[in-house]
């Protein structure tokens, strides 16, 4: 990339933009770190109140370039576009404003010539039900990335059960946010493997429809044992406590308090922002963050936002929804792999899992707020940088 006398780089690289990742920051702390990095060490950090005043006015735009390398030797170049949705404006009151921001971010991706665009966090929630909200696309395709997110959640649940000595087949699985794209995808993949599934969401009609769909799937799967299904909008209404929980609700803030679950439950918080309230008191539960993958071939940001945009205790870890676009770009398979809501099937999960694995994209080591889970120490040796 060419550098000018003023240290300002404006010339685009000759490499094509294979993918674009559209995201937003999940907390003001994360947003402050992004702004702080952009200001550079020569400028004093902005006070929090100034960041809260300024960020909502920033139009969606590219923040950095992202290079990823496959273990096959293939490489792909992309961009990270932040929609600059203020972290405290993810609620329903701001839905139209936020859809407009995602549309503008999508327009940036299209203008940059991205062949495939992954929608991270609330970006996909806002658009998943209605891709017509996106601008005219030409040669750019969009994927919510939710299929790979589901794949990593399912893999992590299986891994945790194996590590904890928990028999999945005897387990009661609770899915919070079950009617969402990720929640319903998890339900489809895991229902045949557990004893009982508790589906929780706000809309009872959608829950009932999901239960009917799962029963239908079950009838088509002759090997599956008949799973016990329950639906409820209130966690207190379920007949049995869950020992495995997937939190996949679209909550604007981490506010979920889980009661009525087994005290030693395994809990996967797959929300972005996180679902679980910091005040949730579950000392015996094993909580981990789900839906994350790791690029073993390496990933590089330019400028180097490493550790700022990917705030994980392990290197080269990215949310599955964004990794889906990267994996498809490495595969040079530019198609809208995940679209709409409720179409994620086990077959599609297997397919994206294979594509990702072919390029060295695997389940990330597990961690939670306190850091890596004990099974993951010491951390795996991975290549930190794309060549």
């Amino acid at each position: 990339m060419g550098h000018s006398a003023t240290g300002v780089t404006t010339q685009p690289q000759s490499l094509d933009i294979g993918f674009a990742l559209i995201g937003h920051q999940e907390s003001w702390r994360a947003a402050a770190d992004v702004i702080g990095f952009l200001r550079g060490p020569q400028h004093p950090p902005l006070p929090d109140d100034e960041i809260k005043d300024i960020l909502p006015w920033i139009p969606p735009r590219t923040v950095c370039h992202v290079d990823v390398a496959s273990t096959t030797g293939a490489q792909a170049r992309g961009i990270y576009i932040d929609s600059f949705i203020p972290p405290d404006r993810l609620g329903a009151a701001y839905v139209h404003e936020n859809i407009a921001r995602v549309r503008k971010a999508a327009a940036c991706a299209i203008k940059a010539g991205a062949k495939i665009v992954s929608l991270g966090g609330f970006s996909s929630v806002l658009i998943e039900g209605n891709f017509d909200h996106l601008p005219e696309r030409h040669d750019t395709v969009f994927t919510t990335g939710n299929t790979l997110t589901v794949a990593f959640i399912v893999q992590a649940i299986k891994k945790m059960c194996a590590l904890e000595g928990r028999d999945l087949r005897k387990s009661t699985l609770l899915i919070v946010g079950a009617t969402g794209d990720v929640g319903s995808g998890c339900a489809r993949c895991l229902a045949p493997l557990v004893k009982r599934v508790l589906l929780n969401a706000r809309n009872l009609d959608r829950l009932r429809k999901l239960a009917v769909d799962l029963r239908c799937d079950e009838r088509n799967d002759y090997e599956a044992d008949r799973v016990q299904l329950e639906v409820a909008t209130d966690l207190q209404q379920f007949s049995a406590p869950a020992d495995i929980v997937i939190c996949a609700a679209s909550l604007p803030t981490p506010s979920l308090l889980l009661d009525c679950i087994a005290s030693d439950a395994t809990i996967c918080d797959a929300g972005y922002p996180k679902n679980l309230s910091p005040s949730a008191d579950m000392p015996e539960a094993k909580v981990f963050f789900g839906g994350l993958g790791q690029i073993t071939g390496g990933m590089r940001f330019e400028p180097d936002f490493n550790g700022i945009l990917n705030r994980h205790p392990f290197p080269n870890v990215v949310h599955g929804c964004l990794l889906e676009g990267m994996a498809l770009a490495l595969e040079r398979r530019f198609e809208p792999f995940s679209q709409g809501r409720g179409f994620i099937t086990k077959h599609r999960v297997d397919e994206i899992e294979k594509i990702a694995a072919r390029h060295g994209i695997h389940l990330a080591p597990l961690y939670n707020t306190d850091g890596p889970l004990e099974y993951e120490l010491p951390s795996v040796g991975v290549q930190h940088r794309a060549n």
Partner: protein, 252 residues
């Protein structure tokens, strides 16, 4: 004798205008100063233009900006306040000096960048915000002038885009140098609080804390101005990730 309050205004408008007249007086004073400075800048620009059509354009713009200043003064009279102006006030004076350096270098493109991209972004965004909340003809005047300023930004954009097409890196370097000079001054002017003392335009104490009384805030005016500036730079074709770091590095 001209009535102190516009006879066509509703009683509610009259009350809110007269109650908040000192606030509108300062808002108008800033706007009027900006317009007079713009008129001076265009007049200076006309002196370095070689093409008679460009000279005529610059003089026409100068005339237009003087008309805007007159309109703001008239709005002040309608609410019974005398709208002062002070192009020698510290921030405005520095902005004028920045522009005059471009004139001294006979750099027509730099002049357009300063006036049309930087100063007008601030004017268009601020006037639209003020126009939305100001009652009666005061609001209409701000909105009308915002729209007129936007029109001549469009005209300058075509010249600047053509210039960038010739050598993008050189053009972007020039914008960056001017940004460091001019936008730093504008950012200090737009700060939520005037930390470096009186701006020398407000008639008494700083108007910024009182802006809430007319449904405005200094943070909103700054945010809208920076947003407009970023969008204008986007339209020029300067990469968004570059302009993002420029703007985040400005003082607050």
């Amino acid at each position: 004798m001209e009535p102190l309050i516009d006879v066509n205004a509703s009683p509610i408008e009259c009350t809110s205008l007269s109650l908040n007249a000192p606030i509108w007086q300062d808002i108008l004073a800033q706007a009027m100063t900006g317009e007079i400075l713009a008129a001076m800048n265009y007049a200076s620009l006309s002196e370095i233009c070689d093409d008679p059509a460009e000279v005529a354009d610059a003089l026409e713009h100068a005339q237009g900006e003087r008309g805007h200043a007159t309109a703001f003064a008239a709005e002040g009279r309608k609410i019974g306040v005398d709208v002062a102006n002070n192009v020698d006030a510290k921030h405005w004076k520095r902005l004028r000096e920045s522009f005059l350096r471009c004139i001294a270098q006979r750099d027509f493109i730099a002049c357009l960048i300063v006036q049309e991209i930087m100063l007008e972004s601030f004017a268009v965004a601020s006037y639209f915000r003020v126009g939305k909340v100001a009652p009666g003809t005061l609001g209409k005047t701000f909105l009308r002038i915002a729209a007129e300023e936007e029109d001549h930004v469009d005209h300058a954009m075509s010249i600047l885009r053509a210039e960038r097409a010739r050598d993008a890196q050189r053009f972007d370097d020039k914008v960056y140098c001017l940004h460091l000079d001019v936008m730093t001054t504008l950012a200090q002017m737009l700060a939520k609080e005037c930390k470096d003392g009186h701006c020398e335009v407000c008639h008494a104490t700083c108007v910024k804390p009182a802006l809430f009384d007319v449904s405005l805030s200094a943070a909103e005016l700054r945010g809208a101005s920076l947003q407009q500036y970023l969008k204008t730079l986007d339209m020029l074709g300067i990469p968004g990730e570059v302009t993002l770091s420029w703007v985040t590095q400005l003082p607050v």
